[in-house]
């Protein structure tokens, strides 16, 4: 594994992968695996979900709208680099020159850890670390630090936007679309989904969540029509994900399915916390307390991104 200590980015290259972590964009800027670029833009934490009918009825977005801004705009406040799990100083220019030709270029692991400040008032801190090992596996460690005085979170996770539409995905977890308060009826198993379907609710809204997932493998067409895959798998606890052609805000803005733009990218959200959908009524009742996301408590989760093409 080779690490490139650039002036603006940090590159990590192995047999089957090429990654670039940017100091400028505040996160990874390139994940190449299976001969394919997997990042359209730098992934960031996500805090918003497209308002559901029940959310709207209970005025949840009125209370939580600060998180919409946080989802759209987030400030990167710090970058750290750890080599073989020890903090590395002097990785930025001009100090990085001394790293050229040093042993730091071939470590067993390198982690780039970003710190973000949300645009909410008060602001909350999120750290996301990407720890790369020689196989190319990236352990993503995400931590939201709870702050008193903020509204409940509509969602919390990491959003990966991929440059093209996936041809499909395979996952092991629960069948169908599930939420914390609507997952008892789902069968557990391994499921193969063709394309990137969007649940066609009359008004586009949050949809497509998969709770309790062990892994999801995203397939996209690579060079020469070869299928390239990127795997997101559990590290310790199972995670939730949604894989859709749109971001929450794209969905938020449409009042009908046909207003959504042509599907051209893949938006994978790997979630640390999912709010229930509720169901008592659509004109005031909130989601049951157990299925809300308190903002004053920490949310810590992790998952592994693997470039293995199997």
């Amino acid at each position: 594994m080779d690490v490139v200590y650039g002036d603006v980015t940090l590159g990590v290259h192995g047999k089957d992968f090429d990654y670039i972590f940017s100091y400028q964009t505040g996160g990874p800027e390139s994940f190449v695996a299976g001969g394919l670029e997997w990042l359209y833009r730098t992934p960031k934490p996500t805090f918003w979900r497209a308002t559901t009918c029940n959310d709207r009825g209970s005025h949840f977005p009125h209370k939580a709208s600060m998180w919409m801004g946080a989802d759209m705009f987030i400030e990167t406040t710090g970058v750290e680099v750890l080599v073989d799990d020890a903090p590395l100083t002097g990785f930025l220019a001009p100090d990085n020159s001394r790293l050229i030709g040093s042993g730091y270029e071939h470590p067993a692991s390198v982690e780039v850890r970003y710190t973000y400040a949300t645009t909410t008032v008060p602001s909350a801190t999120v750290t996301v670390g990407y720890r790369v090992v020689r196989t190319g596996d990236v352990l993503v460690l995400v931590r939201y630090e709870g702050v008193p005085g903020l509204p409940e979170l509509p969602a919390f996770g990491m959003r990966f936007v991929m440059p093209s539409l996936a041809t499909g995905y395979d996952y092991r977890g629960l069948e169908g679309e599930t939420y914390p308060d609507r997952m008892a009826g789902a069968r557990r198993g391994t499921f193969s989904v063709s394309g990137v379907p969007l649940t066609p609710y009359l008004v586009p809204q949050e949809c497509g969540m998969h709770m309790d997932t062990d892994f999801v493998i995203v397939s996209r067409t690579g060079t020469g029509d070869r299928t390239a895959r990127l795997t997101f798998r559990r590290h310790d606890r199972r995670f939730a994900f949604s894989l859709l052609p749109y971001t929450a805000l794209e969905l938020e803005n449409a009042t009908h399915q046909e207003e959504l733009p042509p599907a051209r990218r893949t938006v994978l959200c790997v979630m640390g916390a999912v709010r229930g959908v509720g169901g008592i009524d659509s004109w005031g009742s909130d989601v049951e307390p157990a299925y809300r996301i308190p903002s004053d408590q920490d949310i810590v989760y992790s998952f592994v991104i693997s470039p293995s093409q199997r």
């Binding site: 009918c53 609507r182 008892a184 649940t199 399915q257 008592i280 659509s282 009742s285 989601v287 299925y291």
Partner: protein, 620 residues
């Protein structure tokens, strides 16, 4: 009689020359007709009709029904169908607000005569051979919302109540060939105050129209009363009403067969044209197979009328079932066991044709209900097409059969209770109208085993009129329970209206509170789990109530299918689903009609697996 436009707003006039409501049986001419189910005494008038449309009564062609009115002035329209989905008038979706909100300030029974679209329908027809020379009736299964009927230039009758059959006797005016049937349909009448359901507001002849001939002797009404007594013993009685051509002399035979075709009962009586009513008294028939949602066992009742020479004059088959529903110690018992309602509210809907749905749509719905362990349907909030009830009998779908009544716009304003001019209330002007709606619902569907509850309608507040409806059902039918939720807002009527405590959208904790603090009546959620958009979370909390409270009987999810309409998108040219407000209909309640467990195009929503799981646990 001279028809008058004033009837539209006259509380005294809502049925003119309409035949009395009767059971929904079909009659056959002979054994061959029965065997082939050709129904040769019936003649469908569905199809293409001549048509004119006007924005209001003033602009209508008043003489369209006359024989001499020129044919070339008409355009065409399909029957059954809503006129709004065929290019006439505005498509509108609105929930609680009356459809004229913001356009006209009206109080019952007023109608805005400047905005009361008139659809003038004409059908030319010749009688088919088996109908010629006989008495001929016509049945409109559903016309929204008030209709004047003419045949060959003569006024025949007037009807309201959009969702129940309206029947008229055409015998005096009909001829073998060259008949001109004319129907003038008004979109608004006083009936609008009682038909404020949360749905798209349509008009027109939206259900089938059929002529039928009456043999010399005819079963006008039948009321079979199968009783499931203790120990699975059956009792059976039957009440028949007849009409005749003068001078008829003959007999009537009654037989009851089980599902294997084995005889259970046979009886016979002499009749003549003086016998308008005949009762076969209750008798024990031994052990019977009960009808239930799990085993919808049906017996075949056959009534045969023969003339004096023994020739068959008419045959009426009807499938009946033995089941028992009652309240014992505060618990509803269905065939002796606690009733579990794994239910859903169902509007009739098709994204192409609105409420003009087909039997194929119904069959899909039934299969979907069965597959997902939904055992109960509330026919929100009007009687459905006749075919639906028979399909439910066969499939074991229990029904709460609602009367066509919803008036929430008269007392629910911006989410608060404001009943200053509520209808029907205790206003004697409305008593006959709402009682008529209850009677028609009862008389039409009384023989269906699937109906376990009559329901007085939905969200119509409470008062003496609704109480009279309750009394009517209780007086006429001791084999079912009577449901009404609207007493929730008028506790003084709680003891005297509704056999059950019914609430809507109560959070699980409020159900618990009722159980702990009152709990004298069995509890039902007539609407719960509002499945709008991505919803149906938290069902577990309701499911747990079954274990906690024996007199909690479950509820009806709101609702079965999204109400949205397919249109061609101007921009992409694709077929897309549209909802309230998309037709420049204002004010509107927009996407509030999209609350189904299935999408408007009959694809299950992802949440269905949750329903299947929780309901399946309880009813399997």
């Amino acid at each position: 009689m001279k028809p008058s436009l004033s009837w539209l707003t006259d509380p005294e006039v809502f049925r003119v020359n309409q035949l009395p409501a009767r059971s929904d049986h079909v009659h056959y001419a002979d054994e061959q007709d029965l065997k082939s189910e050709s129904e040769k005494l019936y003649q469908s008038l569905d199809g293409t009709w001549a048509f004119l449309w006007a924005r209001n009564p003033k602009e209508r062609e008043k003489d369209f029904f006359l024989m001499e009115y020129p044919d070339d002035r008409f355009r065409t329209i399909q029957v059954p169908g809503h006129v709004e989905l065929q290019g006439y008038g505005r498509i509108q979706y609105i929930n609680t607000m009356y459809p004229w909100e913001g356009h006209a300030a009206l109080r019952p029974p007023q109608v805005d005569m400047s905005d009361d679209p008139v659809s003038s329908y004409v059908k030319w027809f010749d009688l088919e051979a088996p109908l010629i020379g006989k008495r001929v009736h016509i049945r409109f299964e559903g016309v929204e919302q008030a209709m004047y009927l003419y045949l060959n230039g003569t006024f025949i009758g007037y009807a309201e109540d959009s969702f129940t059959p309206s029947e008229f006797d055409l015998t005096d005016c009909i001829r073998p060939t060259g008949n001109k049937l004319a129907v003038e349909v008004y979109k608004r009448s006083k009936a609008a105050y009682f038909e404020d359901q949360d749905f798209f507001r349509f008009s027109g002849i939206f259900r089938s129209v059929r002529l039928y001939a009456l043999p010399q002797a005819h079963v006008e009404d039948l009321w079979a009363r199968p009783v499931l007594a203790r120990g699975g013993q059956g009792r059976f009685s039957l009440e028949l009403q007849f009409s005749y051509e003068p001078g008829f002399l003959g007999s009537v035979e009654v037989s009851l067969q089980d599902a294997e075709g084995l005889p259970v009962l046979n009886d016979r009586a002499e009749i003549d044209d003086s016998v308008s009513r005949l009762e076969f008294a209750s008798r024990d028939i031994g052990a019977v197979h009960p009808w239930s949602d799990k085993t919808p066992y049906l017996y075949l009742l056959t009534v045969r009328i023969r003339d004096a020479a023994g020739r068959v004059v008419e045959i009426v088959p009807y499938r009946i079932g033995f089941r028992d529903i009652r309240i014992q110690n505060g618990v509803i018992k269905f065939n002796g066991k606690r009733l579990i309602i794994a239910g859903v509210n169902r509007h009739e809907w098709n994204a192409e044709n609105g409420r003009a749905i087909t039997v194929d749509d119904m069959r899909w719905d039934i299969e979907t209900l069965r597959r997902n362990h939904i055992n109960f349907v509330r026919t929100c909030h009007y009687p459905d097409q006749i075919a639906w009830y028979g399909l439910c009998d066969e499939a074991g779908i229990c029904l709460m059969a609602e009367t066509n009544l919803e008036s929430h716009g008269s007392w629910q304003k911006m989410g608060t209770v404001e009943p200053s001019w509520n209808v029907p209330g205790s206003d004697p002007r409305w008593l006959r109208i709402v009682l008529d709606r209850a009677r028609t619902n009862f008389e039409t569907f009384k023989n269906h085993p699937s109906i376990l509850f009559w329901s007085l309608g939905n969200e119509s507040y409470a008062g003496e009129c609704i109480k009279a409806m309750y009394d009517f059902f209780k007086d006429r039918d001791d084999s079912r329970l009577v449901h009404y939720e609207g007493v929730f807002h008028r506790p003084e009527y709680r003891p005297s209206i509704s056999d059950v405590e019914s609430q809507m959208y109560a959070p699980p904790s409020r159900v618990g509170q009722y159980m702990e603090s009152d709990g004298t009546k069995p509890f039902i959620l007539c609407e719960y789990m509002h499945c709008m958009g991505n919803s149906l979370g938290g069902m577990q909390s309701y499911d747990r109530l079954f274990d906690r409270y024996r007199s909690y009987h479950g509820g009806f999810i709101w609702d079965f299918i999204d109400q949205a309409l397919f249109v061609t998108d101007d921009v992409t040219g694709e077929r897309v689903l549209r909802y309230g407000g998309d037709f420049d209909d204002r004010p509107s309640d927009y996407e509030f009609s999209g609350d189904g467990l299935v999408f408007a195009n009959r694809v299950e929503k992802p949440c269905m697996q949750e329903v299947r799981y929780y309901y399946g646990r309880r009813i399997r």
